[in-house]
């Protein structure tokens, strides 16, 4: 019989090293998986871990992909630190795509050409509101009916996906698009400005990094952020102090909905410049991993965002170079999260083995 026994004093060093340890273990298992697939493990690892950094174009793609991951994960960190388990960032992201993209599409179809300084805030504000509205549904159901936010937010993801499908297959379908399920291309006045000439990298990255700083300030320098975290760590202490649990729930969900929505809006007008059913490849779910690998800390999330972005791109490269299945990237992401949680568990607990006989006696 296995028993987990709490360690008196979990090692601080190991807690910090745990993501690294999980990464090394993931790489080892990845190598084994490559070998099992009959591929050269060294080459496989190189494609996943080295290739994405090999040249400017790859790095810019990596940063491009990291942008929404970091943005969403920052909001999730606020949620998780408040003990609010928003699993539906993907849905809030999609609503950001729809709302932000919707504004851009409306400007385009109406032929309104605004200066960028006006158009971009308009589009992004729409995206933020869209994400917040979707998260507010979860908050409302939890607040009014005590519904589990985990289930509600997750199920709302599927609703959001159907909503996107409906719009692009229906009302918003580009009449000149050969019946493809996609909208018109947005007018150039609504595009996010480029950050690095010759690449697709846009200023979303700068926005994400600025947001990381803001979230840090919110969490560690503002009383509101402190209140949320007290509620997350010790609900009875929050009640004793007089911090409202309801207001924490709403604040946490609205912040994370806003950031997920913003990420969606930036993807819509930054990378795609139209809405298609494929605007998200599960970024909202990958961001959960980013959030945990980043230790729910803004700085950690920036690094974890780069790491997970690398694995996503590595997966794409592996598909084209080694004809590995695309699912492999998802497998690695999952492995990383599970191994991280396992490492954390073993840092906080030790395993005691007792024979069934001794237990029975």
């Amino acid at each position: 019989m296995l028993r987990l026994e709490a360690r008196a004093q979990p090692s601080k060093l190991m807690s910090l090293l745990s993501p690294l340890l999980a990464l090394v273990l993931t790489a080892l298992l990845a190598a084994a998986l490559f070998a099992a697939q009959g591929k050269d493990p060294a080459r496989g690892l190189a494609i996943f871990f080295v290739e994405p950094w090999s040249n400017l174009r790859q790095v810019s793609e990596l940063l491009l992909k990291a942008t929404p991951l970091i943005t969403i994960a920052l909001g999730l960190a606020v949620c998780y630190r408040s003990d609010v388990w928003n699993i539906g960032a993907e849905g809030q992201f999609l609503l950001g795509v729809l709302a932000g993209g919707g504004v851009a599409l409306w400007l385009t179809t109406q032929g309104i050409v605004l200066p960028r300084a006006l158009a971009l805030p308009l589009v992004l504000a729409g995206a933020v509101l869209g994400g917040m509205a979707w998260a507010a549904l979860t908050a409302l159901l939890r607040d009014r009916f005590n519904a589990s936010e985990i289930l509600v937010s997750l199920m709302l993801v599927y609703v959001a996906q159907q909503l996107v499908n409906y719009m692009v297959f229906g009302p918003w379908k580009d009449p000149a698009g050969f019946n493809f399920p996609q909208t018109k291309n947005f007018d150039a006045s609504t595009w996010l400005p480029n950050l690095l000439p010759g690449t697709r990298l846009h200023i979303g990255l700068a926005i994400a990094l600025a947001l990381a700083a803001l979230v840090w300030v919110f969490l560690f320098r503002l009383f509101r952020g402190y209140q949320l975290q007290v509620g997350g760590l010790a609900p009875a202490a929050a009640r004793y102090a007089g911090f409202s649990a309801r207001s924490s729930l709403w604040t946490a969900l609205l912040i994370s909905g806003a950031l997920a929505g913003l990420a969606g809006g930036m993807e819509a007008i930054g990378s795609f410049r139209q809405i298609t059913p494929h605007v998200s490849t599960g970024l909202g779910f990958t961001a959960i991993i980013v959030c945990f690998v980043g230790r729910l800390h803004p700085l950690g999330i920036v690094f974890a965002g780069l790491l997970l972005s690398m694995m996503v791109i590595g997966g794409e490269l592996g598909q084209s170079r080694l004809s590995l299945p695309n699912a492999l990237s998802g497998v690695f992401q999952g492995l990383l999260l599970v191994l991280l949680l396992a490492c954390d568990t073993l840092i906080h607990y030790r395993i005691r083995i007792r024979s069934a006989l001794a237990a029975a006696r």
């Binding site: 320098r221 503002l222 009383f223 007290v230 009875a236 202490a237 004793y240 102090a241 007089g242």
Partner: protein
């Protein structure tokens, strides 16, 4: 030669990090004897029972069973010897029937049908009426306890341990239970009966071991002892009257009027028409056995529970019954809860950040936390209240219980409250720190603050309080000046027997009986 004792404990000691729960405890129970273990909450009764039942290992000491030395490593082994325990909190599955619950705890040799038959037989034999087929959730608390006892009896115990069994029973049910226990004892089964209720022990038991602070303070025949004598063994000698400045009670600071509040769950206590006031410059001490409504009353006063009828709680004449804890704090009401970790402090956060729970001086405009101010406050508290810790950055959970208590009490005292409510100010705190905390509370009183101190330690209340009130079953006794109070008197009051006002005395007595009949309270043994 007399028969060997059924159970004999010699020199049992158990040290927990903060407290020595058992210190050289000896206990001897003969076959067929009903033996009481008497002591206040925290005296070490539960630890001792857990040691006998194998749930806790003692640090030192020996155990003899029927004359042979034994070492009980776990409850399975205890059951194999013939030790059965009926716990204070029931461990039944609501959705299963009584018989299925009993079946779960037995050897799997028997079929469910056989178990049903045996339950019927045992319950008839001992007058413990139980319908084996009814689901547990449909049973009353008394019936549930019968199921627990029947479950214990089916194993043919040689020693039956009952932990505060009457806390959930009506008076009639208590008498029935006593009949059953006497019948059992007559059949040779030894019974260990844990309680702090003197009358019950006198009615039932022939021997009584009294514990105080983990030590045995006496082994007596309770039938020949007065309540006063037993109280003194249990609580300690009546404390010396301490010299402190004459109270100069000023204006009424806290006025509680006709406060009633239904319990939140089946283990809670309903507060019933509570009336009292606390004046500036006095300490009102609230005595009572834990689980009699203290927790509920504190939550209402602190603002953690805002269901109190409006107007029932007033601070300086202002109705605060529905105000949030932060509003109350701004009006000068500070509160120290009895749970330090998780309520009085966030375990994972630093001491500095923990000051922010109730002290927001360093929070500026727009909610910006000036961390320097926060650190300075924490450093000041650590110095003033002699908190031993690793600095302002130390996590609250890294402190010992006593040091964290000094920090939390200090945090609230340092806020210069106009009304300070303290729950168990010195629980688990060493003697020196307790003196420091009590001294600070007295200083605060002399500075004109109103104080309400809730404690289970009568000694402590006698030492610092100017007036005393007793809470029992969610009701409050009239106040009594400290000089008029005695341990015996308060002990009686703690079981709900205080003089009723002449008018409507009969109605109040009827209400008390009704309250007892419906009581589902957990007379918690911490």
């Amino acid at each position: 030669m007399a028969a060997a004792p059924r159970l004999e404990l010699v020199g049992i000691s158990k040290q927990y990090p903060a407290v020595r729960a058992n210190d050289q405890v000896a206990l001897k129970v003969l076959p067929g004897e009903i033996h009481a273990v008497l002591g206040e909450n925290g005296a070490g009764k539960s630890t001792l029972m857990k040691i006998i039942y194998g749930a806790v290992r003692p640090d030192e000491g020996q155990m003899h069973w029927d004359g042979a030395k034994v070492e009980i490593k776990n409850p399975q082994q205890a059951r194999a010897l013939g030790i059965s325990m009926v716990f204070q909190h029931f461990s039944l599955f609501d959705t299963l029937s009584a018989a299925e619950n009993v079946w779960l705890g037995l050897d799997k040799k028997l079929s469910l049908a056989e178990v049903v038959q045996r339950i019927a037989k045992v319950s008839k034999g001992y007058g413990l009426e139980v319908d084996p087929l009814r689901p547990v959730h449909s049973l009353s608390v008394g019936e549930r306890q019968r199921v627990e006892i029947v479950r214990a009896l089916l194993t043919d115990p040689k020693l039956l341990i009952l932990d505060e069994p009457t806390s959930v029973l009506t008076p009639q049910a208590v008498l029935e239970l006593f009949d059953t226990l006497r019948q059992l004892a007559a059949g040779g089964c030894s019974i260990l009966y844990i309680s702090h209720k003197l009358d019950e022990i006198r009615a039932l038991c022939s021997h009584c071991t009294v514990l105080r602070g983990g030590k045995v303070t006496g082994v007596v025949d309770p039938r020949t002892q007065s309540n006063a004598e037993l109280s003194r063994l249990m609580i300690g000698a009546e404390p010396p009257r301490l010299q402190h400045l004459k109270a100069r009670a000023g204006e009424v600071v806290l006025a509680v009027q006709a406060l009633s509040c239904p319990k939140l769950d089946q283990f809670g206590t309903t507060l019933e028409s509570i009336d009292f006031e606390v004046r500036a410059g006095e300490i009102v001490g609230m005595a009572g056995v834990s689980g009699n409504g203290q927790q509920e009353l504190m939550a209402v006063l602190s603002g953690e529970d805002r269901r109190a009828p409006s107007g029932s709680v007033r601070l300086f004449g202002q109705d605060i019954a529905r105000q949030s804890p932060r509003r109350r704090r701004r009006a000068g009401l500070h509160f120290v809860p009895e749970e330090r970790l998780g309520r009085g402090a966030v375990p994972q956060m630093s001491l500095a950040r923990n000051t922010l729970l109730t002290r927001t001086e360093a929070v500026g405009a727009a909610g910006w936390m000036h961390m320097r101010g926060v650190e300075l406050l924490a450093a000041r508290l650590i110095e003033r209240f002699d908190v031993r810790c690793g600095g302002t950055g130390a996590a609250a959970r890294s402190l010992s219980g006593g040091n964290l208590q000094k920090f939390i009490v200090g945090r609230e005292i340092d806020a210069q409250p106009k009304l300070l409510i303290v729950s168990q100010p010195t629980w688990g705190v060493d003697v020196g720190a307790a003196a420091l905390i009590r001294g600070e509370l007295l200083k605060l009183r002399d500075a004109g603050c109103a104080l309400l101190v809730v404690s289970e330690e009568l000694d402590e209340l006698f030492e610092i309080a100017d007036r005393l009130i007793v809470i029992a079953r969610g009701r409050l006794s009239p106040p009594i000046a400290r000089r008029d109070a005695s341990v015996e008197r308060l002990g009686e009051w703690m079981s709900g027997l205080w003089p009723q006002p002449a008018a409507g005395a009969a109605a109040a007595a009827a209400a008390a009986v009704a309250a007892e009949a419906t009581i589902g309270a957990r007379h918690a043994q911490a």
